[in-house]
């Protein structure tokens, strides 16, 4: 049954890609959950991660899995800088101001990237062999991306659950006034959460390069901004863990529908997968407006 083999293969691939989607959306959800700010400049941070991976690999021969930590540190630093330069002034500001500001930050990063590295599409190939899982061949590099995503998400989850600072962030997400009454420095939690959110996003950009062989360019982020919004809504918007699971679901739907659409004659499946994914989003939101895994969003 070649069709089922193809479908199964695509679903496996979808799950792997989904883990990266999930990781790339966690930062967006974390920032929204804590600061109630929608970072519409989300994609360009993924682009920065992709360039980090590219330069680390081509200049120093450093494997992308190692670059993740470099990107995380860069992202954290950048997150703090942007928070204290811009975001700090926008807490409790009207939505239009925060949307404009984060949009502007995104464009600013893109143009800096274009200025420094040019508008060309770049890519690199990190070939460390494939594994045959019976139905399809999967490159080890993608399996490493899958494992890295899960490890990072799990470590972050444990940090949130087991540490005092993690508990303080959860408290601010649930009720910032209540957190202040407990003596939590809410301003510091805002800064930290924003930095972690950007750090995660930049780190996920490293993993994205393992799925776009020649797609690294200053404007590559847009696609991920769009997908991240869908995934974040699916996951209930304010929950990084919801976003991670929703990433899987999105990856499965996107890749599963690719196989199914290929059966219809005269249809170009690639452009339609997004149609299917977004239609499904609409249906899910009609049935459960708080998102698939969403709790009590006020």
């Amino acid at each position: 049954m070649p069709f089922f083999e193809q479908l199964a293969g695509n679903l496996v691939y979808g799950a792997i890609l989904g883990s990266v989607y999930g990781l790339s959306t966690m930062g967006l959800s974390l920032i929204f959950g804590v600061l109630r700010i929608v970072n519409v400049g989300h994609g360009p941070f993924i682009m920065l991660g992709a360039f980090t991976a590219f330069w680390m690999f081509t200049l120093f021969g450093i494997a992308p899995v190692v670059s993740i930590s470099v990107a995380l540190v860069l992202g954290l630093a950048l997150g703090f800088v942007i928070f204290f330069a811009v975001i700090r002034r926008l807490i409790n500001a009207p939505e239009l101001s925060t949307l404009l500001a984060t949009f502007a930050i995104g464009i600013f990063l893109e143009e800096i990237a274009k200025f420094m590295w040019g508008p060309d599409h770049r890519g690199y190939s990190w070939d460390i062999g494939d594994i045959d899982i019976g139905i399809t061949l999967i490159p080890y590099s993608k399996i490493l991306a899958f494992i890295s995503s899960i490890i990072i998400a799990y470590l972050l989850y444990m940090w949130f659950q087991k540490t005092k600072l993690g508990a303080a962030i959860r408290a601010v997400v649930e009720d910032s006034g209540g957190a202040a009454a407990c003596g939590i420095n809410v301003g510091r939690i805002y800064a930290l959460s924003f930095a972690i959110g950007i750090g995660l996003t930049v780190a996920s950009g490293v993993l994205v390069t393992l799925f776009v062989p020649v797609g690294i360019n200053p404007y590559m982020g847009h696609e991920y901004t769009l997908k991240a919004f869908v995934i974040a809504v699916l996951g209930g918007l304010a929950s990084p863990w919801g976003a991670f699971y929703a990433g899987f679901i999105f990856g499965l739907i996107e890749n599963g529908s690719y196989t199914l659409l290929g059966l219809i004659p005269g249809v170009e499946p690639f452009s339609l997968t997004r149609f299917v994914a977004f239609s499904l989003l609409l249906v899910i939101l009609l049935i459960k407006p708080t998102g698939l895994l969403g709790g009590e969003n006020k």
Binding site: A167, A171, G178, A180, A181, E296
Partner: protein, 234 residues
């Protein structure tokens, strides 16, 4: 213990407090009375620092804390029970209480605070592993008060603690506040429920249109002309 002088604040360009003065003595319950919109909640939120003071001074234990952010005030022994409880609904009762002991000041006393809280509110011990959001209204109010005690405070600001509760529970909340006073706590209370709060208080102030128009011991305030004017428009 707490002294407020000429406090002014507001939101955006709208001024709400126009120079409020009051003093809270150690070990007493002091009530701020006033009609809706008088600025009672704004007064407490400004003292705590959630609303920035525009002018005036706030002195806590002899130290000027006017522009201290809220978390510094908690470290110095001041906390607030906000109007509408502001719990962490998808955390357990226990987690809510532990978060109350977030500051260094509170961490030192974590065990004894927990013991005190559980002895005051046995129901919270029974429901320690239950999500705070699943508690009844009365239990949530108890948890909000309990969480404020976990900060190991000298003085607690309470904003409408009896709001939205059934009459029987309202009396329970007022009994609790009296018990807290007997434990040595100082309380600054804002209440809609005038008669019950006068019943338990030692001092009272009347706030009207952002200004303190009257202050004194309970007996002085109770029989004054001012309070009739403010509440009854006489």
């Amino acid at each position: 213990m707490l002294k407020v002088e000429g406090l002014e604040s507001g939101y955006g360009t709208m001024q709400v407090l126009w120079g409020a003065d009051l003093e809270v003595k150690k070990g007493t319950i002091t009530t701020v009375l006033g009609p809706n919109g008088a600025g009672k909640s704004t007064l407490l939120n400004t003292i705590f620092g959630l609303v920035k003071p525009w002018n005036g001074r706030i002195i806590l234990n002899g130290e000027d804390v006017t522009f201290d952010p809220p978390h510094d005030k908690v470290e110095k022994g001041l906390t607030i029970v906000l109007e509408g409880r502001h719990l962490f609904p998808s955390m357990t009762v226990r987690e809510n209480l532990i978060l109350g002991a977030y500051t260094d000041r509170a961490m030192e006393k974590l065990e004894s605070s927990l013991e005190l809280v559980y002895s005051l509110f046995p129901v919270l011990k029974e429901r320690a592993e239950q999500m705070a959001g699943t508690l009844s209204g009365g239990e949530q109010q108890m948890l909000a008060i309990a969480r404020s005690l976990m900060t190991n405070p000298d003085i607690v600001l309470m904003d409408e603690p009896s709001q939205g509760l059934a009459p029987k529970l309202v009396m329970e909340v007022f009994d609790t506040i009296t018990k807290l006073k007997n434990e040595g706590l100082t309380i600054l209370l804002v209440e809609q429920n005038v008669f019950a709060s006068l019943e338990i208080s030692d001092y009272a102030y009347v706030l009207n249109e952002g200004r303190i128009v009257l202050g004194g011991t309970i007996d002085e305030v109770k029989d004054s002309e001012e309070i009739k004017k403010v509440y009854l428009g006489l």
